[in-house]
């Protein structure tokens, strides 16, 4: 059997539309998810037992269950509970944001913990008030240290977002599956779809190690 990759030309527009949906979904969830993760990361290191418990349960739940089930749950159960119809995009955004929030909160928590106690000693010896200790010393270091892992988290989210095709969102994966069903050329179509994912994800994974080296070089004291 000869492979015919020329079908990409026929379905170019559909694929681009799907890619646009994937990128849009990823970007929105990166922004919302990182914000959520940052706040949850703070909550997990806070002094309040209640904040720590609630945030801990949330993170454990979303890290410990398959994303696909989370998606189904948000798409089909949430509207029943809330009693309102959610658009596909809204449901996808909610589901992946909650997932991304749980993942990145761990990243933020680890980077917050990596700021050593001697930095706090120095702050106290300099008479810095608590608020300045947090905003000018701890958070900037924690965020800098978090950047490489956060980028990896974003790449993962970009790839995981393909799961929304299972609940009928017209993302790149969904479009690819449709084309492959209609053309009966799954090998060519899915290879092309995989290549598109790769072309976007690969430079990002490369950037991660580059940035990591830069940041480590800067922060190593």
């Amino acid at each position: 059997m000869a492979l015919d990759f020329s079908i990409i030309l026929r379905f170019q527009d559909a694929l681009l539309l799907g890619l646009w949906m994937t990128l849009k979904l990823t970007l929105i969830c990166v922004i919302l998810g990182c914000t959520l993760g940052f706040l949850v990361g703070l909550a997990r290191t806070s002094r309040s037992v209640m904040l720590r418990t609630i945030s801990g349960v949330y993170v454990d739940f979303f890290r410990g269950t398959p994303v696909l089930i989370q998606l189904f749950w948000i798409f089909f159960c949430l509207p029943l509970i809330l009693g309102i119809e959610l658009s596909n995009l809204a449901s996808g955004v909610i589901a992946l944001t909650l997932y991304m929030g749980a993942i990145t909160s761990e990243t933020f928590r680890a980077s917050l913990k990596s700021v050593g106690p001697e930095q706090l000693d120095a702050c106290i010896a300099l008479g810095l008030p608590r608020r300045i200790q947090v905003t000018n010393v701890i958070l900037p270091q924690a965020v800098l240290r978090a950047i490489p892992t956060l980028l990896s988290n974003c790449v993962s989210l970009f790839k995981e977002s393909a799961l929304v095709s299972a609940v009928g969102m017209a993302d790149l994966m969904f479009v690819g599956q449709n084309i492959s069903n209609n053309t009966a050329q799954p090998v060519e179509v899915l290879t092309i779809v995989a290549l598109i994912y790769f072309i976007i994800a690969f430079p990002l994974t490369r950037a991660v190690s580059l940035i990591e080296r830069r940041i480590l070089a800067k922060l190593a004291i």
Partner: protein
């Protein structure tokens, strides 16, 4: 002629400190320090020297005892509840440099120096920067003003840390083995800076294992072991011809030489 009555700069009374019930580190220290004195604290490792300085800096709670600074109450705990009262206003007049590097790695040298003056004393950034550059120049670090801590040698980092503490015009400086993490060839440049401060009559409390430095910087030496002061006197006595057996043993063992 009668000398004016000035209160001691530091008066520690019955200082008790433990890390948990099984780890009693300071067992009732009474130390007085007069204005202008440079107190060198020596003693075996694990004897509580760092703890003493950390308590003095207000970094550790105490179990019992009190410290006054310049005649004013500074730290106290009555031993009944677990509370240690620390006057943070008084604490601002004390500066400390640690054994391990504690510069802020995400800030360059000048930013490290001006953070506290700008945020605590609300000094104008341009004024603070001017003072910072002045101090750096004095310490031979003018060229490093814009460098990040990771780009500095250990000796440079410690000199920057000293300059950072001086930006707040401390009335007392604490130095906890500030050269022991350094390569030997970098020790002198840091000690020179501290000797410079001594020449300007900066009161200081210094923990060191460097015999030469101890002799040159101290106006008084205290030998601490087992959580108490074993011997206290002028450097010639404590380092040269100690009265106490335990001091003699320690000095023989650690410094090898004795005059």
């Amino acid at each position: 002629m009668t000398a004016p009555i000035t209160p001691p700069l530091v008066r520690m009374q019955s200082l008790h400190k433990s890390y948990g019930p099984a780890m009693q580190v300071l067992k009732g220290l009474d130390i007085e320090m007069q204005p202008g004195e440079r107190l060198v604290v020596i003693g075996p490792s694990g004897g509580g020297k760092s703890t003493l300085l950390r308590v003095m800096m207000g970094l550790e709670k105490i179990d019992r005892g009190s410290i006054t600074f310049g005649g004013k109450p500074y730290i106290s705990s009555d031993g009944l509840d677990k509370k240690t009262n620390i006057d943070t206003e008084v604490r601002r007049s004390i500066g400390m440099v640690f054994q391990h590097y504690t510069l802020f790695p995400h800030l360059n040298v000048v930013e490290n120096l001006i953070l506290a003056p700008c945020k605590v004393r609300k000094e104008r950034k341009s004024d603070a920067t001017e003072r910072a550059v002045g101090l750096l120049t004095r310490f031979g670090l003018a060229a490093k003003a814009k460098a990040y801590p990771a780009q500095l040698s250990g000796g440079q980092k410690q000199r920057v840390a000293i300059a950072r503490a001086l930006m707040l015009d401390p009335k007392l400086m604490l130095f906890d083995e500030v050269t022991s993490a350094l390569d030997p060839e970098l020790v002198a440049e840091v000690e020179q800076v501290i000797l410079q401060l001594a020449a300007q009559k900066m009161p200081m409390m210094i923990v060191t294992h460097d015999m030469w430095f101890a002799k040159n910087i101290a106006s008084r030496v205290i030998f601490c072991a087992g959580g108490v002061v074993v011997e206290d006197g002028p450097p010639e006595q404590v380092l040269g011809s100690p009265k106490e057996e335990r001091t003699r043993d320690f000095i023989d063992r650690v410094f090898h030489i004795r005059q």
